[in-house]
Symmetry: C2
Amino acid sequence: MARWEPNAPERLAQAALDLFAERGYENTTVIDIAQRAGLGKTTFFRHFQDKREVLFGRGTTNDLLAEAIAAAPPTAGPLEAVAHALDAAGRQVFTSARREFTVRRQAVIAANPELQEREALKNLTLIASMAEALERRGVPELTARVAAELGALASSIAYERWSRTGDGDDFGEIARRALDDVRAATPLC
Amino acid sequence: MARWEPNAPERLAQAALDLFAERGYENTTVIDIAQRAGLGKTTFFRHFQDKREVLFGRGTTNDLLAEAIAAAPPTAGPLEAVAHALDAAGRQVFTSARREFTVRRQAVIAANPELQEREALKNLTLIASMAEALERRGVPELTARVAAELGALASSIAYERWSRTGDGDDFGEIARRALDDVRAATPLC
DNA sequence: TAAAGTGATGGAACTAAGTTCCATCACTTT
DNA sequence: AAAGTGATGGAACTTAGTTCCATCACTTTA
């Protein structure tokens, strides 16, 4: 049994998402968030670097994707390994259980430039860790970077589609199709 | 003749870059910057949205690239149009005259996550405007997005190389080579 | 030449983000 | 029962960023 109400970070993140959705990111103070979670401002900043970070908390996605790339069959080419990673994202991030949460979160981010900045940078580090994971498979540096970029593009297209589909649809499959589309659309000159 | 010392934004930007390079972004207050430029805090925020923006002021690069893509020969493919845009960037942004400034600026950005976030988002809008410009040439949406992404990747590789070369080297040429390298490295599976 | 106009500026006062320090509280271990 | 431990909250602080208003330098009009 815990000493205090458990899961302070989760409660803060939930309170933040609710408030951001209700009245907007700008019109929500950190004190508002902490109060709704039954905590103080100090505790908020003990769990999150800053106000934006409350929406980006679990940064384990980098490792998740890198591990999936490492675990792809040795015969798989770079883009196939990336597809493997997108599959993993579908199984652990873009699940139907977390669907509503994810969609609300993305809507909040889309409404605020400060949050978009944070997401843009997180996305760059995500691309970098995919590229590194590919290099560890023996993929040449530049090819790895291109493959990671194409994977990120496919992922964002796949999110677009997934967020509009019914509950049964698997992100992994959608992402594979998106990656195929991207490959087919890649210009040669 | 101007009423006050002219070019307040330029003076502020120069003072900011100098101070950031001297003592770091975090250890420089907006008041420090304004004082060195002979101005007040209020005037700083009249010219720049926020402290980060002082390093990203002239946002005309988007239009520059879009116009260069529009002006590319009608026969040019998507990547050739992008190469045209990188040429234009070389002629107006990555010039040998602005070389020292640009390199110092990039070094300051590389040293601070807050600035990296701003740059990451600016880069996304830059990619978006290149993609739009390509679509206006009749390039299909997805192909346009991929071409713009590959162009951005080539540009960052080209900057890497350009920042290390001697003064005579032309960014446009370096970027064309980088784009060729990217194309050659693009994985098909 | 004098008066009114214009636009950039600076200062003061304010809110909110984020930090630091210290006391407290809830529960655990000795 | 007493000491220990880790999460918490409050107070006080610095800085980013906003708002409002007065002022100043120069221009235009009378």
